[in-house]
């Protein structure tokens, strides 16, 4: 569930824990891998991704009920 932290890339800086509006990382400890305690409260604002200094260390997975509805392009 979102956000997803890549253990190998995360530098344990804690930026995402500090800035998340919804505090989905509540209970995370300093200098440890962030814990996603409240995944259902993520609003997909992307702030954690933007404030992360290590590219690819955090990404969001959109839950299926929030998938966009769109028209397919006509097949050639």
């Amino acid at each position: 569930m979102p956000p997803i932290i890549d253990e190998d890339k995360c530098t344990l800086c804690g930026n995402c824990v500090d800035i998340c509006t919804e505090d989905v990382f509540f209970g995370s400890k300093k200098k440890q891998l962030p814990r996603v305690t409240y995944p259902h409260e993520c609003v997909y604002c992307n702030a954690c991704v933007e404030e992360c200094p290590a590219e690819g260390a955090v990404r969001l997975r959109l839950p299926l009920p929030m998938m966009l509805m769109y028209k397919p392009a006509p097949t050639a």
């Binding site: 509006t21 919804e22 604002c45 992307n46 702030a47 009920p65 929030m66 509805m69 392009a73």
Partner: protein, 551 residues
């Protein structure tokens, strides 16, 4: 189970700002520039909190170099817009007059307010009408405003939620609850500025059971309105509904950033204003007809699509640039993952849930009905530019007020702090009972069924009785297993107070006007022309009063 004890802490300031969005940060900056000692508290972290967290891209403004020397056509247009039609014209005039100064300030601080070196206006405009929304690149507005506030010595206290104002001998500060420690903080201040934003989790969102899929930040839960109400301040127009529209099912504001034509499933434009993608106008049909997406679905003519096919390469780049600045990164990421290309795939739009348009009654000086209490921003709906402008104004006025009075007595807030300590201690130590989610869902249900799109006397009566029962149980039985849940518990208590006021206001406004519909009073009552409905706390619930709009 360990018995939880709430620790206490005291802090002092001349001006206390509650909420660190654009309004709160601008209020804090101006108050500090005026020489006041300022503390700003934020429920999250001002760097990325609230509805402007990851950006905005349009800002209502009067720019003399663009509009020419006459401001009045712009004032008239804004007064008719969604952000202005319930406000006195003098309020809108002050807003537009000050907006250019704010724009210049932001530009100096590094928030790009120009497009390729020029003032660019687009979106939320009907062909032939004056332009009022300045295009800007606001992706970094929150980090930049936070930096500017700190530069001026503002003390920022993050992760603290204010719950009650201190009212001993006038407004004397507020009591806050920490979101990560069991701690109550008493903020003593000579003046308070409320800037907590909108009122989002009142009605069910687009996805059943998915409480946080919302067009605006679901963390903004009417805390300011509820605090002001409990302290005795006036709320205004709480019964007037507001609805957003945007992509389905990924709820996000920012409709005006899309450059396309709203079309039905057979590709016929649903509005008369544009027939091909046009970056200057977008498609303004949904500005004057927000319920269109819902109506097309209900009548089987839908769905309605935002169709960007046929967009020029230049306009496509422009739209994608501004989507980033409007904070739509989550959606852009989803496009990439799903292989959605706006040049080929029309995106379905929907009408989102209701909230209230009204809020704390603040005038063009940011003053509320209580001396020493100021409010700005979406404490009464106005959008980003109103937030920045009236935040700035309210901060200056609050500093002036603070200089004219002595510091509150040392005992101020003792009683309210003890009362809040008891309330949260009980919630934290209770073993079983409803969670905040239960109460929030029960509230959403009664709002949607009894004062949703269909409103009448009998529905209001039945719904009010149920709401009051939920409210009693919430105060008595809510359980918070940790500090995070505790903040959500306080949020639902605030939402319940706001809901009670909305019920009372709907009961009083027995007429149909603009977007406000009473099925049992389907006519406009001229007696209410040029009037606003004021609600304030009485001994047994909300009291209502009609006032002239310019009072």
């Amino acid at each position: 189970m360990t018995h939880i004890i709430m620790a206490g802490e005291q802090m002092e300031a001349d001006v206390l700002v509650i909420g660190g969005g654009p309004a709160g940060l601008m209020a804090a900056i101006h108050a500090a520039e005026s020489g006041a000692k300022v503390t700003l508290i934020d429920k999250a972290n001002t760097v990325r909190s609230g509805s402007g967290a990851t950006g905005n891209d349009h800002f209502r403004a009067y720019i003399p170099a663009f509009h020419g020397p006459d401001m009045e056509p712009v004032v008239k247009e804004v007064a008719k817009s969604q952000a202005g039609w319930t406000r006195p014209q003098s309020f809108v005039r002050t807003w537009m007059k000050t907006s250019f100064d704010i724009v210049k300030m932001w530009d100096d601080w590094g928030i790009p307010m120009k497009h390729e070196g020029r003032w660019e206006f687009s979106g939320h405009t009907f062909p032939g009408k004056p332009f009022t929304t300045l295009k800007y690149s606001g992706q970094s507005q929150k980090p930049i405003l936070t930096k500017e506030a700190k530069k001026r010595g503002v003390k920022i206290v993050n992760r603290v939620t204010a719950f009650d104002l201190i009212t001993d001998h006038g407004i004397s500060g507020a009591i806050g609850v920490h979101g990560r420690e069991d701690k109550i903080i008493t903020f003593s201040a000579k003046a308070v500025v409320l800037c907590t934003g909108g009122c989002v989790r009142l009605y069910p969102g687009p996805t059943p059971g998915w409480m946080f899929n919302r067009a605006d930040s679901p963390h903004t839960t009417g805390d300011g309105r509820a605090m002001a109400y409990r302290a005795g301040a006036d709320l205004l127009n709480m019964e007037i509904p507001m609805r957003w529209a945007g992509p389905k099912y990924f709820a996000k504001c920012g409709k005006a950033t899309w450059v396309g034509v709203l079309r039905d499933p057979r590709d016929k434009p649903v509005g008369p204003f544009v027939t091909k993608p046009d970056r200057i106008y977008g498609d303004p049909i949904s500005d004057s007809y927000k319920g269109l997406f819902e109506d097309y679905m209900k009548t089987g003519k839908g769905p309605v699509y935002m169709d960007c096919r046929g967009i020029s390469n230049e306009d496509y780049d422009y739209m994608m640039h501004y989507m980033k600045h409007e904070g739509l990164h989550g959606i852009l990421h989803h496009f990439d993952e799903e292989g959605i290309d706006l040049r080929e795939n029309p995106i379905e739009f929907m009408t989102y849930e209701m909230t209230t348009r009204g809020g704390i009654h603040y005038n063009e000086k940011g003053e509320t009905s209580m001396p020493g209490l100021y409010a700005a921003g979406d404490e009464y709906f106005g959008g980003i530019s109103a937030a920045a402008t009236f935040g700035w104004i309210a901060g200056g006025k609050a500093a002036g007020f603070a200089f004219g009075r002595d510091a509150p007595s040392k005992n101020a807030g003792k009683e309210s702090s003890e009362a809040l300590k008891n309330l949260v201690r009980e919630m934290r130590n209770r073993k079983d009972g409803p969670s905040w989610q239960e109460i929030n869902v029960a509230l959403n249900q009664v709002m949607s069924d009894y004062i949703g799109p269909t409103r009448s006397d009998t529905l209001v009566e039945a719904g009010t009785a149920h709401l009051l029962r939920i409210k009693e149980k919430a105060r008595k039985d809510l359980v918070a297993k940790n500090q995070h849940e505790l903040i959500h518990c306080l949020e639902v208590l605030n939402l319940l107070d706001v809901a009670e006021v909305i019920f009372a206001a709907i009961k009083e406004r027995k007429e149909t006007r603009e977007k406000y519909i009473r099925v049992d009073h389907p006519y406009k009552n001229p007696a209410f022309d040029e009037k606003v409905l004021v609600c304030r706390k009485g001994p047994e619930g909300p009291l209502t009063e009609w006032k002239a709009i310019n009072d």
